[in-house]
Symmetry: C2
Subunit: 398 residues, 2 copies
C-alpha cells in the first residue's frame, strides 16, 4: 500500500498496470491462454509470456490444462488460472451482538464461513475477539490470509479507516484503523455494510462499466423491541465503482423516513413496524411507501439493475402485489424499469462475502493514470510477500 | 479518434498518456515549468523535456517567461503555456428557433460568440445553416477549428451521436452524427443541453474527483403559450465525470412532475406557470415543490455542490425565501447542505460554452487502462494534423 501518483512513464506503474491487467483478465475468464491474453489486452506475446513467467514463479498463476490445437495445427494452447490456496481474504460483518465471517480464496471461492454471538464490547475489542475466535478455523484451511474486509453499519471513511457515524454502535468519528492496524500484520479495510453488499454484486457481475443500485432493507426483527429501528440503505455502483459521494454519505436516505418525533417511519407507527413480520399487508404498505420515496432517485440514476437485499428477501411474494399498487408511479409503474428489479443472490452471508469482495476488487483493480491509489488499495506485491509459513502468522499478534 | 483498448505495454498508450498528462497539467496551472511538471507527474526530467520539445515543435506549447532562480542559484525555470491560436473549439446550442455559439481557444478563452434566430428546419439542416452563417466570423478569428460540440434539448447517445428522444424537436432515435459527419472534416460531438451546463462547470472547477449537481430550470417564457412546457434537468458529475446512466437518461426527472393529463406541473396549472414570470410568489411555490421533489435524490447523491442555472438565475432573490419554506426538509433544511447551493456563473452563453468545454475536456482527458476510448474521444494527434491553411478549410464542404 502506497500513495503514489501514477504516471505512464513511471516504471512502477507500467509493471503494476500490466500485472493487474493480466491478473484481472485471468480472474474474469477463470481460465485463459497466453495467446488470448495477448489478443484481448493488445500486449505483445513476449510481454505476456514474461508476466506469466513471473506470476508462475511467484506461485500466483498455474497451468490448468492444454486446449485443442487449432485446425491450422501448431502448438496446443495452455490454459492458465489463479492458483488456489496462494492466499485468502477474510470478510467480516460485525453487528450489535453477533458476527458473520467468510474466508475466500483469490478467485472468490468460499474456503470457510462462520457465525457466532459476540459479547457487548467496544468495536475494536469485538474485532480482536472475533479474530481470536476464528483463528484456528482460518489456520485449518491451510491458506494464509492476505487481507481483511470489515462490514459495519454506519457511514465509513474508507480512506482513513474511520467510522464517521454509527447509530448502532453509538460511535462518531471513530478511528478504527488507528486502533487496529498496528496490531495486525495484514491490511484491514473498513466499509459500510450496504456498500459491502454492492461490492458482492459487483464481484458477481464482473462488469467494469456497470451501473446498479443495491437496496438493503433490514427490520432488525431480533431486537426491534429494544433499541434498533428498521434501516434502509442504498449502495450506488456507478461506472463499475462503488460511489461514496462528497462525504462518504452517498446512498443515505434523508432522515425524513422518520417523522420529527422519531415515532413514525414512512408513516408507520412503531407498533405497525413490529407487526410487519407477521402481517404481509403491513410489509406491502412499508415497501410501497419506500419505493414511492425512492422513485425520483431511481429515475435520476438510470440504473441497469436494482437489487433488493436484507430481510425483504423473506417476503418475495409481496413484491408483485407492491408493484401492482405502484402502477401509477413513473418509475415502478414502467414495465421496462420493473424488469430491472431482482433479489440479491447473496443470502445471509452477503455482507461478509461483500466485505471480502471489496478487498478482492481492490486487489484486481487496474491502476489509473494521474491518480493516487491511496490507502484503500492493496498491491499484488503484498500477496507476493506472504511468507510460506502458513496461516497462523498472518493474523497478527493478538 | 479510434476505438482501441488501452494497455500499458502498448506504445500508443504510453505516448498518448504522457502527452495527455503533461498537457492537462499545463492547462490546469496556466503556466508551469518543466521542473514542476516532472515533480508533479513523477516523470523523469528527461522524459518531460522530450515531451515538451515535441509539443513546442508541434506549436502546441510555448515558452512564456523566465521565473526567478532559486535561492540555491542554478538555472532560472522557464514557464510553459498552451500557445493561443493553435486551434479552436466551437460550441453550439441549438434550440427551437435560435442558436447560441461560442468559439474557444484550447485554454477555454472566448475568441468569439454569437446569437441568432434560425428558421424552422430539420435539425441537421439547422446545423448546416448555422455553420454557414458563422463561417466568416470563425475565419475572422484566424484560429482553425479542431472540433464542434453541440448542445440540444433531449436525451442523447453521446457515443453514437444519436438523439434518443427530443420533445422539443419531436425526434426519436435520430442519427445526427450519421447525417452530419461525412460532410464535416472536423469531429462533431452531440450532447444533452443540461449535461453541457455540467461540462462548463466541470471545466471551471478543474477538479478531477469532484461530485456536483447542475440543476437547469427553464420556463421557455418566449414560447410557453405555444408548445413548450417548463423543463427541469439535472446534470450529474460523479468523480469528475458527467454521468450518463445505463441508457443516457441519468438526470431525467420522473415524468410525474406533470400530472396524468399533462395539465399540471408540480401541482401548478398552465395558467399559473404562465404567470410565474410576473408573480414571485408563484416562482417560490414552484421552486419549493421542485426542491421537495429532489430532496431525497440530493441526500442519496451527497454532492459537494449544487449549481442552479437557467431562467431561475433572474429570480435569485426568491431563493432565501424558498429555503425558509423548506426548513423542515431533511436536505434543504440543513444549513451544511444549503451552503452547497449556488448559481452557475455561466450566464446565457452557458450551454454553448459547456458544449465547447465538453470537447476540450475530452481533448485533455487522461487515457485509462483497459478501456476503449471510443468515438467520443478526440486525440491530440487530430490537433497536430490541423493544416496551416487557416480556419476556412476546416468547417467542411457545406
Amino acid at each position: 500500500m502506497r500513495a503514489e501518483i501514477m504516471t505512464a512513464g513511471n516504471q512502477t506503474f507500467q509493471k503494476q498496470a500490466n500485472l493487474s491487467l493480466v491478473l484481472r483478465r485471468i480472474r474474469e475468464h477463470g481460465m485463459i491462454s497466453r495467446v488470448e491474453l495477448s489478443r484481448i489486452l493488445g500486449l505483445k506475446k513476449s510481454t505476456v509470456t514474461n508476466i506469466i513467467a513471473e506470476l508462475m514463479d511467484r506461485g500466483i498463476v498455474e497451468q490448468r490444462k492444454e486446449g485443442e490445437a487449432s485446425s491450422m495445427g501448431g502448438r496446443k494452447p495452455v490454459y492458465l488460472g489463479i492458483r488456489p490456496g496462494i492466499a485468502g481474504i477474510l470478510g467480516l460483518e460485525i453487528e450489535l451482538g453477533f458476527y458473520r465471517a467468510v474466508y475466500l480464496d483469490l478467485s472468490g471461492n468460499r474456503l470457510w464461513s462462520g457465525y457466532a454471538e459476540v459479547p457487548p464490547l467496544p468495536l475494536e475489542h469485538m474485532f480482536d475477539y472475533i479474530i481470536q475466535h476464528i483463528q484456528k478455523d482460518i489456520e485449518a484451511t491451510g491458506v494464509p490470509p492476505a487481507g481483511i474486509g470489515v462490514a459495519v453499519p454506519g457511514s465509513v471513511d474508507l480512506e482513513q479507516g474511520k467510522i464517521i457515524e454509527s447509530v448502532t454502535f453509538k460511535l462518531n468519528d471513530f478511528d478504527f484503523a488507528g486502533k487496529i492496524s498496528s496490531r495486525y500484520s495484514i491490511p484491514v479495510f473498513l466499509e459500510n455494510d450496504t456498500n459491502c453488499g454492492a461490492w458482492g454484486e459487483l464481484w458477481r457481475r464482473n462488469d467494469e462499466k456497470v451501473n446498479f443500485l443495491y437496496l438493503l432493507i433490514r427490520f432488525h426483527f431480533h431486537n426491534l423491541e429494544k433499541t434498533e429501528k428498521p434501516g434502509v440503505g442504498l449502495g450506488l455502483v456507478i461506472n463499475g465503482q462503488v460511489y461514496y459521494g462528497s462525504s462518504f454519505r452517498a446512498g443515505e436516505l434523508g432522515s425524513n423516513l422518520w417523522d420529527e418525533e422519531g415515532t413514525e417511519y414512512l408513516h408507520m407507527s412503531s407498533e405497525e413496524l413490529l407487526r410487519i413480520k407477521e402481517d404481509p399487508r403491513l410489509m406491502e404498505k412499508f415497501l410501497e411507501a419506500l419505493f414511492r420515496k425512492l422513485s425520483e432517485s431511481f429515475s435520476i440514476l438510470d440504473p441497469s439493475e436494482v437489487f433488493l437485499a436484507g430481510d425483504v428477501d423473506e417476503y418475495r411474494d409481496s413484491i408483485p402485489r407492491v408493484l401492482e399498487r405502484l402502477k401509477d408511479d413513473s418509475w415502478f409503474g414502467n414495465p421496462r424499469q420493473r424488469e430491472k428489479i431482482s433479489f440479491s443472490k447473496g443470502g445471509e452471508m452477503e455482507m461478509p462475502f461483500g466485505a471480502a469482495c471489496m478487498v478482492l476488487e481492490r486487489l484486481y483493480s487496474i491502476p489509473q493514470l494521474g491518480s493516487s491509489r491511496g490507502r484503500i488499495h492493496i498491491d499484488w506485491e503484498h500477496v507476493f510477500e506472504i511468507p510460506e509459513t502458513g496461516a497462523s502468522h498472518m493474523l497478527g499478534t493478538v
